[in-house]
């Protein structure tokens, strides 16, 4: 119980900071909007191909914007030496990790929701909003995978001199199964391809459980020096 | 034996890769051994 309580209080602290400072979420939102504009030039999206391109574009934006946003939050945590307080306070490394995952998950999901709305408006693709109930499990499982790995790695990378560049480099290869699962299952749902997304959801769920357990075991080594 | 360049290319590159790795490390080892000997001699003198 104390574990959950501590995790939730970390989450609450992050939400408060976000409301006051509006740092990482607004950064992510502008970044994803910018990505959409760039993709429009790069791919020449029109009514014909938008449905085929949508899942690829969206997951590229989710993964890149997500990791930059998560790096930002842990960077500020490291700068202010705020994480040091965990070593002295009764909050365990595991519940600190769980709290950070929850707050990253929340911000990523908000970013994704905005991106979907922007996407629907900019490329005249309202269908994607209507399909949100079917897309929800895909988004939840995929984003949880992003948050689990991203939280762990963002603290890891802050110790390095090349932190900001290193983080995407470490993160992207590891989350390949999530990106693959997200793109494929979204594509199946949007274009009504046969087979259904079931198998991909399973793969993402296994990924999430695996990384949840490993990260809980390993996070203490990143916080305690 | 129409595709021999690929076959020999593969074996040559693998062989060169491992040899090069050994070569640079042997060179490095020589440098370190020399410096270690120097420092150990120096330490003996000061003692």
């Amino acid at each position: 119980m104390k574990f959950m309580h501590d995790a939730v209080s970390i989450l609450r602290k992050d939400i408060l900071l976000e409301i006051r400072g509006k740092e990482s979420l607004s950064l992510m939102l502008f970044l994803s909007l910018l990505f959409l504009v760039i993709f429009n030039f790069a791919l020449d999206i029109d009514k014909e191909n938008v449905s085929l391109l949508a899942s690829g574009i969206l997951w590229v934006i989710f993964s890149f914007t997500g990791i930059l946003g998560m790096g930002r939050t842990s960077m500020s945590e490291r700068d202010e030496e705020a994480y040091l307080s965990i070593v002295f306070s009764p909050v365990s490394a595991e519940s600190f990790y769980a709290g950070k995952v929850l707050s990253n998950l929340l911000f990523l999901l908000l970013m994704e929701a905005f991106t979907l709305v922007f996407f629907a408006v900019l490329f005249d693709f309202e269908k994607i909003i209507g399909m949100l109930p079917q897309l929800l499990p895909v988004l939840l499982l995929g984003t949880l995978g992003f948050a689990l790995v991203g939280t762990l790695f963002s603290f890891l990378a802050t110790a390095s001199r090349y932190g900001e560049v290193l983080l995407p480099f470490l993160y992207l290869p590891v989350v390949v199964p999530v990106i693959l699962g997200g793109v494929s299952s979204m594509d199946i749902i949007l274009n009504g391809k046969p087979g259904g997304p079931g198998r991909w959801l399973q793969i993402m769920a296994v990924f999430d459980m695996l990384y949840l357990s490993i990260s809980l075991l390993l996070f203490r080594y990143i916080i305690e020096d | 034996m129409e595709n021999w360049p690929y076959l020999f290319g593969a074996y040559t590159i693998a062989w060169l890769g491992v040899s090069f790795y050994l070569y640079i490390n042997t060179k490095k080892q020589k440098g370190i051994e020399e410096r270690l000997a120097d420092i150990e001699a120096l330490l003996k003198d000061t003692e």
């Binding site: 470490l170 590891v174 390993l218 080594y221 | 690929y6 491992v18 080892q29 270690l36």
Partner: protein, 224 residues
């Protein structure tokens, strides 16, 4: 100086094993009917893949022992093994590409096994980038151990996900029953040779890394 003697012994046995292995591959093993002589790349390619996998397994195990025992010796073992693993993985990708050109008519294809090796390769390049950026010796060891563990655990997940995506890689295991017995023996010999090579490279590089560390310690003592 027991390790020195083992290293010399392994090197000498490689001087015999390597030429013998090449002789078996090029002279004794029969030519494959469909692919022709290019198929002989297999003996090298698969042995390299085995050696790479072995090295990364050592990284994984050493990383766990390091986090448990906190002895920097294990971190040295992990980093040295990762270096050898990256070397072999690079050669796996190159030899695979050289085989794919004449057989599949492409240099590269997005096949699950190729993808898995490529992604592994990226993860362990990241391992060294991370190590390069951290000055504190102990923290460097601890953080890279986390990558060493996570990277290894990622292999089966990536493998499964990409397999579900698509596959055209030849499955040797499924044709195993039809594989020529001489081919099998040559393959086994080749893998054994590369196993010896891996152990030799590891011990050689490990000894060097230990020497480097001793040099650093002595230098520090000089400065004091």
């Amino acid at each position: 100086m027991k390790t020195n003697r083992i290293i010399i012994f392994l090197f000498l046995s490689l001087l015999i094993l390597m030429p013998l292995d090449f002789f078996l591959i090029f002279r004794v093993a029969p030519t494959e009917r469909v692919m022709g002589d290019v198929q002989r790349i297999f003996y090298l390619h698969i042995s390299l893949a085995m050696a790479a996998f072995l090295s990364l397994t050592v990284v994984f195990i050493s990383s766990i022992i390091f986090l448990w025992k906190k002895d920097l010796k294990w971190d040295t073992a992990a980093s040295v093994s990762a270096e050898i693993g990256v070397l072999f993985a690079t050669l796996v990708l190159i030899t695979g590409s050289l085989w794919a050109r004449p057989i599949w008519n492409v240099w590269w294809t997005w096949d699950p096994r190729l993808l898995t090796v490529l992604i592994l390769w990226f993860i362990y390049i990241g391992y060294f980038l991370l190590r390069g950026g951290i000055a504190d010796r102990f923290r460097k060891a601890q953080y890279s151990a986390v990558i060493g563990i996570i990277g290894y655990v990622d292999i089966p997940v990536v493998r499964y996900a990409t397999k579900w995506w698509k596959s055209i890689h030849p499955l040797l295991t499924k044709q195993g029953g039809g594989l020529d017995p001489v081919m099998k023996k040559v393959m086994f010999f080749s893998m054994a040779t590369f196993f010896v090579l891996t152990v030799f490279l590891f011990l050689f590089r490990f000894r060097l890394a230990r020497m480097e560390e001793r040099l650093l310690i002595l230098k520090k003592r000089m400065e004091d």
